[in-house]
């Protein structure tokens, strides 16, 4: 028989993964809800998931490839940017949705108990649908350019997992912080707009490695998604392997994710009181 113990002095250091697993169906239904709501009553429905990245790629190509004559070696620029965009879009959308998720679920949070972390976690799954569409787009483009995928593609899942951890790590931190400080609601859109320029989305990171000093590059790779996007390109297109410094990025991601869980756990206890 299940026994629940509510103790004011319980340790913050237990994450209670068993309970989380018990609520896995809630995780799926919340994801399903977000997915359904996103495309409900839109005329073009799923087509939107193609139109958005496609238009962005056209703009990128115009500005960076035509305008600035940015070289991407033997990789067609559109294909190059598409990989960066797929990673960045996943990261930024999951991060911002997860960040706002608790605030948006106030009604639920004040009326019923469930592990609150499920709310931001569920955002990662919905983002994967758009990511899959972006991948599909990349492979269509590859066929179009007669560009064969690199054998490194076996490593793609690894980088995908890192991308999920990165998006959730930041998102969970943001969701917990937003409960306390509404200021973060304003900061996130700004962070996203700003962050894209500090991420090798539209340009190769090699553009910077030769031109900025080492210390600046370290800061650059503190950006959790920077190294992951290098990794995406390497695994899909066979471009330069991730920079040594990119491994800082991976380390940051894992640390960020784990610490976000604990920080969230700490704030979780007072969510209903202050939300």
């Amino acid at each position: 028989m299940p026994k629940t113990i509510i103790d004011a002095n319980k340790s913050v250091l237990s994450l209670d993964l068993k309970e989380l697993f018990h609520y896995k169906d809630l995780f799926y239904t919340l994801s399903y809800r977000d997915f359904k709501v996103k495309y409900a009553q839109t005329f073009l429905g799923f087509t939107w998931a193609f139109i958005q990245p496609l238009m962005t790629l056209v703009v990128f190509a115009l500005v960076f490839s035509r305008g600035l004559q940015l070289g991407t070696g033997n990789i067609p620029y559109i294909l190059f940017a598409a990989c960066g965009l797929a990673g960045w879009t996943y990261f930024s959308s999951v991060m911002s949705q997860a960040g706002n998720s608790i605030i948006n679920a106030q009604g639920m949070v004040q009326k019923i108990y469930f592990p609150r972390i499920i709310i931001p976690l569920s955002k990662a799954l919905v983002g994967l649908i758009d990511f899959a569409i972006a991948l599909l787009l990349i492979f269509v483009l590859m066929v179009f350019y007669r560009f064969s995928p690199s054998p490194n593609i076996v490593f793609l899942p690894l980088f995908l997992i890192l991308a999920i951890l990165a998006a959730l790590g930041v998102g969970i931190f943001l969701s917990a912080l937003t409960i306390r400080f509404r200021d973060f609601q304003n900061a996130v859109p700004f962070l996203i707009r700003f962050g894209m320029f500090f991420t090798p989305v539209a340009y190769p990171s090699s553009l910077l490695t030769d031109r900025i000093p080492e210390w600046a590059l370290i800061i650059y790779y503190l950006n959790p998604i920077a190294g992951i996007i290098d990794g995406f390109r390497w695994s899909i297109l066979g471009s330069d392997p991730p920079n040594v410094l990119a491994y800082i990025s991976f380390g940051v991601v894992v640390l960020l994710f784990i610490s976000s869980l604990f920080y969230f756990k700490k704030v979780e206890r007072i969510i209903a009181d202050i939300v």
Binding site: M1, K3, D7, D25, V37, F181, I270
Partner: protein, 421 residues
């Protein structure tokens, strides 16, 4: 294995008041640098060192006036918020219903919302799947189950939500005054289902202001006052204990009896009691459209007054005044000292199928207000007996639904345009 389902030991809950609880970064920074910035915050103890035990299979009511800590206790027991001190051990699978339909999303269909709400309540998808037909049947909205919930009437939404909640199979059920929402039919269904649950030996904790509901459901009750347990034990004892210490008034399903010291009064008049009933002297708060509704007000006139009048106001819950009425014309100019009972009868087939509330006010027109508006009751009008042809499954637009006479005649064109020819 012990027979204790819930054991609460020394639970306190402290809130910080004085701040808006919605922090801003600036506030955090200032309070970090100066100690006294946070001193404007005050501690408020919503629960003070509470301990009690609930045995398995017991149905326990939690009663107490507003602000006594009932909701806080409920929130702690349902793990929505954590206690500041103390420890609770709950033995068994718990479901708490502080609201029905938590998480309902308007864009999703009825069926999808059953899954969403069900999983929020802690059911697994398989469990919901196996009960799906039963839930849909119970809800009575089968025809609309593939329709987005935003197209539902509020009544349909509540029925669907309750259908999900009713199919939870917890060993321990914690319920807030969810019964306060919904139509009469729904309330009956809800109470019936809850009685079933107790019948099956489940443990129930029920928070309510509704003494008759507490009586009907619970064998024991806990009386909370000012964040402390003042009485635990037999339900009748607890209710009378509560009524004794209650310094405002007692409301129990359509009847108010004011406490001597807390009754609304002026130097001229003092309210004693009020009730709402049908023609058969049955006090209640749910009426059929075919019933006449009588409101009784008992009061004491402490010194002779001239031109006193009583005004009753009936409003919808959105705050729209449906109508007001006064006894001005029917009353003697002089009212002598003494005790009085004034009744006002609302004819049948006037009110709509919605819930209303009644206020009463005493005054001397053009001179002064003796007793400003006092809210008496919430009541609901339903169409339970649909013997006549005019049965509407949902409420009619408007705040009243008065009987009107309609007729259609077939006529010649000349009758309509006599000047054209």
């Amino acid at each position: 294995m012990s027979d204790i389902a819930i054991s609460v030991e020394n639970i306190s809950k402290r809130y910080l008041i004085g701040d808006t609880s919605k922090g801003s970064v600036r506030e955090a920074i200032t309070s970090f640098f100066s100690e006294n910035a946070s001193s404007k915050k005050e501690n408020f103890l919503a629960l003070k060192d509470i301990s009690f035990e609930v045995k398995k299979g017991e149905a326990v009511g939690i009663i107490g006036k507003n602000g006594a800590g009932k909701s806080t206790l409920l929130k702690i027991l349902s793990r929505i918020t954590e206690p500041s001190t103390g420890r609770i051990v709950i033995d068994g699978r718990v479901s708490s219903l502080l609201e029905v339909g938590t998480g309902f999303h308007p864009e999703l269909t009825g069926r999808e919302n059953i899954f969403l709400n069900g999983t929020i309540l802690g059911m697994s998808r398989d469990e919901i799947k196996s009960k799906l037909d039963e839930i849909i049947e119970f809800s009575g909205v089968k025809r609309f189950i593939e329709t987005p919930v935003k197209r539902y009437s509020s009544g349909m939404k509540v029925r669907l939500a309750f259908a999900v909640a009713a199919h939870l199979e917890p060993e321990i059920l914690i319920i807030d005054e969810v019964l306060a929402v919904g139509d009469v039919e729904f309330q009956k269904k809800c109470l019936g289902k809850m009685a079933d649950i107790t019948g099956q030996g489940r443990t129930i904790l029920f928070v309510s202001h509704n003494m008759s509901a507490v009586r009907r459901l619970c064998s024991k009750a806990i009386h909370l006052d000012d964040g402390q347990v003042v009485y635990t034990g037999d339900v009748e004892e607890a209710i009378s204990n509560y009524l004794d210490t209650n310094d405002t008034y007692i409301e129990s399903m359509g009847e108010i009896a004011w406490n001597v010291t807390a009754a609304p009064q002026s130097s001229e008049v003092k309210l004693i009691a009020a009730r709402i009933r049908n023609n058969e002297e049955k006090v209640k708060t749910q009426f059929d459209t075919s019933e006449e509704i009588t409101i009784e007000v008992d009061y004491q006139v402490k010194m002779p007054v001239r031109n006193m009048r009583i005004v009753l106001k009936v409003s919808t819950h959105e705050g729209i005044l449906a109508f007001a009425s006064t006894d001005h014309q029917t009353r003697e100019t002089h009212t002598q000292e003494g005790f009085y009972r004034t009744t006002c009868k609302i004819p049948s087939y006037v009110l709509n199928k919605i819930s209303y509330f009644i206020e009463v006010q005493f005054g001397i027109p053009g001179m002064k207000v003796l007793i400003p508006s006092v809210k008496l009751f919430d009541f609901e009008v339903e169409n339970i007996y649909s013997s006549t042809g005019s049965y509407y499954p949902e409420k009619w637009p408007g705040i009243v639904a008065i009987p009107t006479e309609w007729a259609t005649l077939e006529v010649t064109e000349q009758t309509l345009h006599p000047l054209n020819k």
